[in-house]
Subunit: 353 residues, 2 copies
DNA sequence: CAATATGGAAAAATCGATTTATCGCTTGTT
DNA sequence: AACAAGCGATAAATCGATTTTTCCATATTG
């Protein structure tokens, strides 16, 4: 009985109107809950909707309404746990407000980032949550500003004078990591960072160094800045160790750095935490099950998403005022990969001189 | 000079028409490359487009065209590397064909899966790539069939009589894992599977068992089927070991199982591969850098995405014929977590009796 | 009882495009 | 010179909704 409907055209509001014996305008009003419709007609419309299995076409609807109930989200990649959960949370929050989330990945390219943004502008999205590849000054942000788009920048950003920003308070977290390491006796620490996002990385770095030096002025902090690709990173690290450098701890400011550090340790036969300690910025599910469990700074993903959506919707609803820069606190989980220096075979034997 | 444009309404095709001194129809034709327009007018239109910064509204355009150039993608979660790359690839392929990809996550809920599908139907997407939470017989697939949507099912599916399917050839891969383990001397193997996706898991299991028994009839294959949540899985595994079971190898059919197995080993002080060997279905970036590197079955993500999009677009373009079921070959990477049994302290001491 | 107010619904305009039908003008044919 | 054909372009219809305007009854008022 329902069979022949399978391939028929979907019913439009006019089909419903015909079936109910009223005008399309009345159907629209009923579905939007306008009160000035006779109860009898309301019933007829609902019956017709039921009978035909009608559902409004949100895109056609939005076309007339001028603003589209779509939020765009742009992240550098889908593959990571972090951005994966960011998208999940944003999706949840957008849907809660009756908006659809359209997600896209810039694949770590600023050019693509701008193209995607242009496409979202074509789609007339109501707002955009952008996790920029690099920082808040990229071409994408420029595009948004130029075209008067409303948007929020998250993650790899500092305070900005054009957009609201929400990010993890990696500065405080880095200070805390410094404290944890120094208190355990580490005085020679290597920090791994991404060279591309100058300002944010610098902030973390400065915070880390300052905090470490304040607690123990004789602390030596080495820094390797690299790209996100595995290979260049790996070779910088290899060169560094080949020079004979023997830090007692490594703090990686990004996930892939943690991974590469770990694999370099492995290649050299060093074990955490006996030979060297390791802390990574950004947590991952595997870190707590490997041996040793890897210490990590956990970003408040959920909170970042909530705040971002919150401020975004306030702007969409027309709230004015200067851009706000939110920093959400991180949690620092000191797991087994961190210990005191000097207990392992390698650091015991050949102390840095 | 561009300042006051910032907050103005976006130019429509009529604005371009006015500016160029032609009709909207002509503008449309020029932008679509229809040849029957005087070169002079073509130029005027392009100039006006340039001047106003006009871009077509793809949604309004699609409204008239009847079919929308949108592909929907539904995956159980965004957080995993696997589905993350699936989405990335699908996005790439859709864009290549001039379509936009709209991705959503079902968050491992069949109810939500169906709701999302309904929403995509509301959006009048041209096609859907669905990675079902459970299998090809869920309510979502039913919905698609009932509403005559064109779609491809991927990942957790077997051949289906209503939809094209593309998935990793986990059956052959499982047989290969069985061979690798048996050849190394393993005769007591524990397999961890997800209980929810009965058919697919059963297929892998049967293939594994059959292959193992054929090579060594005295092989014992234990099975634990669990949900995807960490805790129930962990406790089943714990109970199993508490009973005194001492398999020499574990083959986990899903990523989280691998993770949990690893953490249980750790808790008990067992090391891979000396005390027990471990192979996981599904590879992850961290697996090759931890110690030991974890052996894994690598799914052909890229190939799955390519084939899925390929058949999807053929169907969109109207190609008929019976549904096809594609299986893409996996790669089995035997890393350090796999060895021969009987060399480690625990298995050497208390052999299973 | 005529004039006005009002409630409810239909008709028409609109959103931003595409597509079809139509029209005016030039050119070619006889 | 008259008519058909063809080219280019425009007007109008359309997609599926929402919103504004109009309209017809009935109810209220003077």
């Amino acid at each position: 009985m329902v069979h022949r409907e399978a391939h028929a055209r979907r019913p439009s509001i006019h089909d419903v109107a015909n079936s109910a014996g009223v005008s399309a305008a009345t159907v629209s009003k009923v579905l939007q809950g306008v009160a000035t419709v006779k109860p009898e007609n309301v019933q007829r419309v609902f019956d017709a909707v039921e009978l035909l299995g009608y559902r409004v076409d949100p895109l056609a609807s939005d076309l007339r309404r001028a603003k589209r109930r779509i939020i765009g989200a742009i992240v550098p990649e889908f593959e990571s746990e972090f951005f994966g959960s960011v998208i999940t949370q944003l999706e949840r929050l957008a849907e809660q407000r009756g908006y659809a989330l359209v997600a896209a990945s810039s694949r770590e390219s600023e050019t693509r980032e701008k193209e995607i943004l242009a496409r979202m502008h074509d789609w007339r999205v109501s707002g955009v949550v952008l996790a920029p590849v690099r920082n808040e000054h990229g071409p994408a942000a420029g595009f948004m500003k130029k075209n008067g788009m409303t948007g929020v920048l998250i993650d790899r950003v500092l305070a900005d004078d054009a957009f609201d920003t929400v990010s993890a308070d990696s500065v405080s977290a880095s200070a805390e990591v410094a404290r944890e390491l120094v208190e355990r006796g580490h005085r020679h620490i290597l920090v791994l960072g991404l060279g591309e996002q100058a300002a944010t990385v610098r902030a973390r770095l400065d915070s880390f160094r300052e905090s470490a030096l304040q607690l123990a002025p004789d602390t030596r902090v080495d820094v390797i800045l690299s790209e996100s690709d595995v290979e260049p990173l790996r070779s910088s690290l290899r060169d560094y160790f080949a020079k004979g450098e023997r830090p007692t701890a490594v703090y990686s400011l990004f996930l892939r750095g943690t991974l590469v550090a770990l694999s370099e340790f492995r290649r050299r036969g060093w074990h955490c935490p006996n030979d060297i300690s390791l802390v990574g910025f950004d947590d991952a599910e595997w870190m707590q099950v490997t041996w040793p469990a890897i210490a990590a700074v956990v970003q408040p993903v959920r909170q970042i998403a909530i705040e971002a959506m919150d401020v975004l919707f306030r702007r969409i609803e027309g709230e004015g005022g200067p851009p706000m820069a939110r920093l959400e606190p991180c949690k620092v989980l000191m797991r087994e990969s961190v210990g005191s220096p000097g207990s392992g075979p390698h650091s015991g034997g050949g102390k840095r001189q």
